[in-house]
């Protein structure tokens, strides 16, 4: 799918340089996608109704677009290393209210919470999650078919 960079010269090259740049991006994306986790099946229901147990999700492993606040991210849980999915509630530099007072998030950390707050196990249990534990952003549900569509 990724062709060699076109070997035309002159004006043609200038004309196509943005395209070529996007191809390099695509190549990088594909490389990461091939080695990384790019789709997951969800179990447990702390993110209902946004995603439910049994949902199959596509994961974007590139880091540019995330972790925006409100994004659903797949990451390795700090204590267990288990693959988990939660929503970004706050990111580096912000302060979050915890029982002991205000907690300052380091620039490379996010505060992740489940949507079903009353039963979710999340940052309130294991603290802030460093970005390097992130696997990708859940962006699209491809099964079950009636619920096909982008993740919000």
């Amino acid at each position: 799918m990724i062709a060699k960079a076109p070997s035309h010269g002159g004006a043609f090259d200038v004309l196509h340089s943005p395209m070529r740049r996007s191809r390099t991006e695509a190549a990088r994306w594909l490389a990461r996608a091939r080695v990384g986790t790019w789709r997951v099946a969800v179990v447990e229901d702390s993110m209902a109704p946004a995603v439910r147990p049994g949902d199959w999700l596509l994961i974007d492993p590139t880091s540019r677009a995330w972790p925006r606040i409100g994004s659903l991210v797949v990451f390795r849980e700090p204590e267990s290393d288990v693959l988990a999915i939660k929503r970004v509630a706050a990111r580096g530099g912000a302060h979050v209210q915890v029982e002991e007072g205000l907690l300052h998030l380091e620039p490379d950390e996010a505060w992740l919470l489940g949507d079903a707050t009353e039963r979710s196990v999340d940052s309130r249990r294991y603290g802030p999650v460093p970005f390097d534990r992130f696997v990708g952003r859940a962006w699209f549900r491809y099964a079950p078919l009636p619920r096909l569509g982008p993740i919000r």
Binding site: R39, V40, V82, L83, I85, K86, A138, Y142
Partner: protein, 142 residues
């Protein structure tokens, strides 16, 4: 088809990690115990046998305690903050039902037992309105 499904299936599982109580709730549990209280009070009042009446009291107290327990489980575990927003009198009803169960424990009044059933029915109505039957019970295989 199954091969396609297999091909499409993700290799990794992501946990939307949560604490898992069993998640099965039904006010019918409280209702059955409260009905026991009601019937036992009836039997108590119809009987002249002292031994039987003593047994009725013992069983009624036990059943009233169970009723209270099941009401508390609905109150503490099933109902969520958004349910209170929908039913502002939710806490009041559960509290009254719990207190009524205590009252039934120490009385042999059929009226009080009926009041307890009525309060449980109000909890049942809120459970139904909040989608309880679909989300907290497994479908029975007929």
């Amino acid at each position: 088809m199954s091969r396609l499904r297999q091909w499409l299936a993700p290799r990794a599982v992501a946990h939307a990690h949560c604490d898992i109580p069993c998640g099965v709730y039904d006010p019918a549990q409280a209702r059955i115990e409260a009905e026991s209280c009601y019937k036992i009070i009836q039997k108590y009042n119809d009987s002249t046998d002292d031994l039987f009446r003593t047994r009725c009291i013992a069983v009624k107290e036990e059943r009233a305690e169970l009723t209270k327990h099941h009401i508390d489980v609905m109150w503490h575990d099933y109902f969520k903050p958004e349910h209170v927003t929908k039913f502002p009198d939710l806490h009041d009803v559960c509290w009254k039902a719990s207190k009524q169960a205590s009252l039934v424990k120490r009385t042999v009044s059929l009226d009080e037992a009926q009041k307890l059933l009525d309060l449980i029915d109000r909890i049942d109505a809120m459970w139904r309105e909040t989608g309880g039957p679909a989300t907290t019970r497994l479908a029975a295989a007929h």
